[in-house]
């Protein structure tokens, strides 16, 4: 090989390689430490722990009640994870089914979904609690619903916007409908699907908390509501911190999956 044979970018071999983003973690740690210190200082200067409790107070609260808090966090995480997975899977399947439906039916269903999507989620969430009870199911349904809408639009749009010439290539190879889905549409939509999944994770966290606020006997959302009634702001903050932590962990998991599944994508350049 000569002249034009030099690869534009060296050593882009397959096989996902996930390196711990050390530099990024370090800057987050520094940023976090600074933010917590500033918060602690602000809280002490302000001198009204009921309104702005210090991180040290929140930590003390956690030390005292950790079995309860961790138990609640586990319940909420369960709702989020199951709801998110179910919602994302349903959205993917729905986007696939849409491709199969006659135009008229697709149009109709699309309108139903647009209508549902423009109904305030909170209203739908309160209904879900009425329909599915105060237990886990209603929260899973709500978290799933939040995720479903976040993922469906994007995925459907991506499925129908595959480049014409690629479809023609599939024509030439006499591809079946399933081959088009699994060898062309899903892989080419995957980068954008992942963007919507990241939004979906956050939506699922919101959904589960909203569900718990509408009626539950356990979970972080319940803890927020209950603590607020009795004026325990520290514990509200503690619940919020755990919600954020769960969101981050799940976002990290989705990002990890993205790096494993999309080693070829431009956004992974330099990470190879």
């Amino acid at each position: 090989m000569s002249a034009d044979a030099a690869p534009a970018r060296p050593a882009a071999r397959p096989g996902p390689r996930v390196r711990l983003p050390v530099a990024e973690l370090r800057s987050w740690a520094i940023f976090g430490a600074l933010a917590v210190a500033a918060w602690e200082a602000a809280s002490r200067l302000y001198g009204q722990p009921y309104l702005l409790p210090a991180p040290s107070a929140i930590a003390a609260e956690f030390r005292e009640h950790w079995p309860l808090v961790l138990g609640y966090a586990a319940i909420t995480s369960q709702e989020i994870v199951v709801g998110f997975l179910a919602g994302a899977l349903a959205a993917l399947l729905c986007a696939m089914v849409f491709l199969r439906l006659p135009r008229l039916v697709e149009d109709f269903l699309y309108r139903v979904i647009v209508t549902l999507n423009s109904t305030p989620f909170v209203a739908l969430a309160s209904l879900a609690v009425v329909w599915f009870g105060l237990g886990l199911q209603s929260k899973i349904v709500i978290a799933g619903m939040y995720t479903f809408f976040a993922v469906l639009y994007t995925t459907h749009k991506e499925f129908i916007s595959v480049e014409v010439i690629r479809e023609q290539l599939m024509d030439i190879y006499n591809a079946t409908w399933w081959q088009r889905i699994f060898l062309l549409k899903i892989p080419s939509a995957l980068p954008i699907i992942f963007v919507s999944l990241k939004g979906g994770v956050m939506a699922a966290v919101n959904g589960a908390i909203v569900g718990e606020l509408f009626g539950a006997f356990e979970g972080l959302g319940y803890m927020i509501l209950d603590s607020r009634y009795v004026g325990n702001t520290v514990r509200v903050f503690l619940a919020a911190v755990f919600c954020t932590a769960i969101g981050w962990l799940l976002l990290g998991a989705v990002t990890l999956a993205e790096r494993l599944l999309l080693p070829w994508h431009v956004s992974m350049a330099g990470r190879r």
Binding site: M1, A3, D4, A5, A6, P7, A8, R9, P10, A12, R13, P14, E163, I165, R166, Q168, L169, M170, D171, I172, Y173, N174, A175, T176, W178, Q179, F182, L183, L184, P187, S188, L190, L262, P263, W264, H265, V266
Partner: protein
């Protein structure tokens, strides 16, 4: 090369193409018909190299797409390897190479080349077993286009010329008799293009391929081809056909780059250019 005794492998008989263009603002139905190919007749012999040249919008790509079964002819008859074009391409008898490589960027070079073989059987669970069997063929195809060692690269990491080579390797995996190429080297620099042209000639002769090659470069067409079909926008006044002239090149084989310095070559290019100039007044 143009032995008229054998049966042609490609036949176009009085082929026309009209596009129905919906006008902006009009609802659904076609509003204006646009003719792009008029009364195109052409026989291509086995192992012949035929180029189609013409100004932008003369329908050369449309003609090629009709040969590939990607567009339906509005009138006339097309046969490739004795079959309707769509059947020929689906049976792997003919293969298409587009202007862009159209590689799947989530697949490595090797997986891209394996793609046509993978599609041949709808049973996805059978693929892992079949893959091993086909791998040798894919590696050979990559070797033919001088890409050994790049099997595991993603298209993104390859240069434009290398990507087009992968596309050629992919087109070769089903071992076609006919290669339909739509300005395949249009995006490449001149040096790379020359190299690709030479390789294409070598490949065509080694494999006994019949090639229909669309380009807008008359020089490239003359250098590569046995015959050059010059098309115009709209029907030519003399014949009513899109074809202005079919130029017999008649230069010696195998073609070498040195040919480009010879008077005989210049003469043919000039002839082609004159024919092309005639097309200017038409549309």
């Amino acid at each position: 090369m143009t032995a008229a005794v054998t049966a042609p492998i490609i036949r176009l008989e009085a082929v026309s193409k009209t596009y129905d263009l919906p006008r902006a603002g009009a609802r659904g139905a076609a509003d204006r018909a646009l003719n792009v190919v008029y009364d195109l007749s052409l026989d291509v012999q086995p192992r012949e190299f035929v180029s189609i040249v013409g100004p932008s919008g003369c329908g050369k790509t449309t003609a090629l797409f009709m040969l590939a079964g990607l567009r339906e002819a509005s009138a006339g008859r097309i046969e490739v390897c004795g079959r309707p074009p769509r059947e020929a391409v689906r049976a792997g008898l003919s293969s298409v190479i587009f202007q862009q490589p159209v590689l799947f960027e989530w697949l490595t070079a090797e997986e891209n080349v394996l793609l046509p073989l993978r599609m041949r059987d709808a049973r996805w669970w059978a693929w892992p077993a079949r893959r091993g069997r086909y791998l040798a063929a894919a590696r050979r195809a990559l070797e033919t286009v001088e890409l050994s060692g790049f099997e595991h690269y993603y298209p993104d990491a390859l240069s434009g010329g290398m990507q087009q080579r992968v596309a050629i390797a992919r087109a070769l995996t089903l071992d076609p008799q006919v290669l339909l190429m739509d300005e395949p080297f249009g995006a490449l620099d001149e040096i790379t293009r020359d190299r690709m042209n030479l390789e294409l000639i070598r490949l065509a002769e080694a494999r006994g391929l019949t090639i229909v090659f669309v380009t807008h470069s008359i020089e490239e067409a003359v250098f590569l081809s046995d015959r050059v079909v010059v098309m115009s926008r709209g029907p030519s006044p003399a014949t009513g056909s899109s074809v202005v002239r079919v130029l017999d090149v008649g230069l010696p084989h195998p073609r070498q780059l040195a040919l480009k310095e010879e008077p005989a070559f210049f003469q043919k290019v000039r002839e082609g250019r004159e024919a092309l100039r005639q097309t200017q007044g038409v549309a």
